[in-house]
Amino acid sequence: MSSAPPGLILRGVGAGYGDGLVLQGVDLAIPPGTLVGVIGPNGSGKSTLLKAILGLAPVSTGAVLLDGRPVAEQRDRLAYVPQREAVDWSFPVSAEQVVAMGRYPRVGWLRIPGAQDRAAVRDALARVALADLGGAQIGALSGGQQQRVFLARALVQEASVLLLDEPMTGVDQMTEHLIVDLLTDLRDAGTTILHATHDLESAAEVSDQLCFVNRRVVAYGPPADTFTPPILHATFGGEMLIVHEGDHTHVHGGGHHHGPADQPPAG
């Protein structure tokens, strides 16, 4: 195993719940410092791919390795930004208390966060432009601000791999730009990033690699090579409309919202 190259490696991964596997035969090799956009229709297994890497979805076949060792042995090196709907925002905690949760594994059992942890929380809040809102009740924040709280919580983990599930869904323009800038900076600093998204065009614009998913990995490669009508068609089937307009390729899903959606997708 030690001969494996650095970065995130998936070898023959099959994952899912119950009887049927949502994903099968996933082989990926993602070097450190790569920003990967994960693209696919609803129910295609985008979230499951992220959760399989995190150990949250049962992996029935294959292996997930980080720098040559199973990720299960080094979960503290992975950070996760779930879909915003995953938690109860009326919970009585402040933004900085939520961000501090990312430090808990470092803090350890029976201890309270120390000065270093509090500094990390302050820095992370500043990086997501929420320095003044650390004390705010999370339910009082806007959708974009809530998403940035989640992002700050992932930042304080100082992880090697960052996985984001639909980070741009239902957020404002300012938040969207901030997330893109932040992901780019983290990538430049050597973090491996996978972000699942519905926004194909923005994914193609910001990502180093695109990973097209529909129950398996349909294609993986730089946007210039993979953001093509045959691959899009193979991923989305008849559910989409592709419009060429000069240099741009616009993609419209059948009945789905693409682009900065106002509503979270169903599922």
Binding site: A86, P113, A140, G170
Partner: protein
């Protein structure tokens, strides 16, 4: 002041007051978790399900506390097990267990000559009959619960707020959930003596829900809930003493009165407070207005200053 001090001349009153303070504080504290984790129904189920354990222990002359604890834990984990199968949902599983266990308790106790009196004591509580030993057990249990809640505070809050993150970080999510159920069961068992099976739910939910209307952070919610639980216990007991009413039920009505008062008049979340305050809209689709939704800018002043760092620091 005779109405306040005269009752204190009776030893049974002193014991009852000690018991309600301990019971009210413990229930009010754990109630914060009952509220945020939505455990009210499961709490109700456990409180009814401990009944056969109490009856068996009572008939066999064993420790009532022990019998209740065993029955409560069997129920809590039985519910978790049945609901895990997926085909039967948790609320249905709770309904099945809680009614069955309660029925078993009634069948068992109906074999006794003193059926009516025994049953009433368990159902509505019997503060007059509290012994010094009961108080010692309640106090020890309450103290143990506070120690556990404090020691595992950040892990319990993490798993309550975001169990996905807790699992991703490698925390034993199921064990932490189970621990919370054990704490809940123990709290219920020691509270039944004071308020009875039917009303213990009110002590778990009402003071904590009242606290939620008054504060916006979890630790203050636990502390305020515990204080409220103790205060309504004492006030309710005094009222019942002077009015000659059932003490457990009177305590519950006092707790309810406190809740209604907070619901109407809480400066932050009450009906009146909301009416006095401008109530800016917020939500997922709002544009990039980087101001909080003004929940802590008390009073009626319009929000002029932009984001204000509030003083409710953790």
């Amino acid at each position: 002041m005779g109405w306040l001090t005269d009752p204190l001349g009776y030893n049974f009153v002193l014991r009852a007051l000690a018991e309600v303070v301990v019971m009210g504080a413990t229930c009010g504290a754990i109630g914060a978790y009952v509220i945020v984790r939505r455990l009210a129904f499961i709490g109700d189920a456990i409180s009814h399900a401990v009944f056969p354990g109490i009856v068996i222990a009572y008939l066999a002359g064993l420790s009532i506390f022990g019998g209740a604890l065993v029955a409560g834990l069997i129920t809590a984990f039985g519910i978790a097990l049945v609901a895990r199968g997926g085909r039967i949902r948790e609320d249905a599983a709770i309904g099945i267990f809680f009614a069955a266990a309660f029925a078993l308790g009634i069948v068992l106790i109906s074999t006794r000559q003193t059926f009516q009196g025994d049953l009433t004591g368990f159902l509505i509580g019997n503060l007059q009959g509290v012994s010094a030993g009961d108080i010692a057990v309640s106090a020890a249990v309450g103290l143990a619960i506070i120690v556990v809640l404090a020691a595992l505070h950040k892990e319990l809050v993490l798993v309550s707020f975001d169990r996905t993150l807790a699992a991703a970080l490698g925390y034993p999510v199921f064990a932490l959930d189970a621990l919370l159920l054990v704490i809940l069961t123990v709290t219920i068992v020691v509270s039944i003596q004071a308020v009875g099976i039917i009303l213990v739910l009110a002590m778990l939910v009402t003071p904590a829900a009242t606290a939620r209307l008054l504060v916006d952070r979890f630790v203050p919610m636990i502390v305020v809930g515990a204080l409220l639980g103790a205060v309504v216990g004492v006030v309710g007991y005094y009222l019942s003493f002077h009015l000659g009413t059932a003490s457990g039920a009177t305590i519950v009505l006092v707790a309810t009165a406190a809740f209604v008062t907070a619901f109407v008049a809480s400066p932050t979340h009450g009906l009146l407070g909301q009416r006095l305050r401008r109530h800016p809209q917020h939500g997922g689709t709002s544009p990039a207005v980087d101001a909080p939704a003004g929940h802590e800018h008390g009073g009626s002043a319009p929000d002029l200053g932009g984001p204000t760092r509030d003083d409710l620091r953790p």
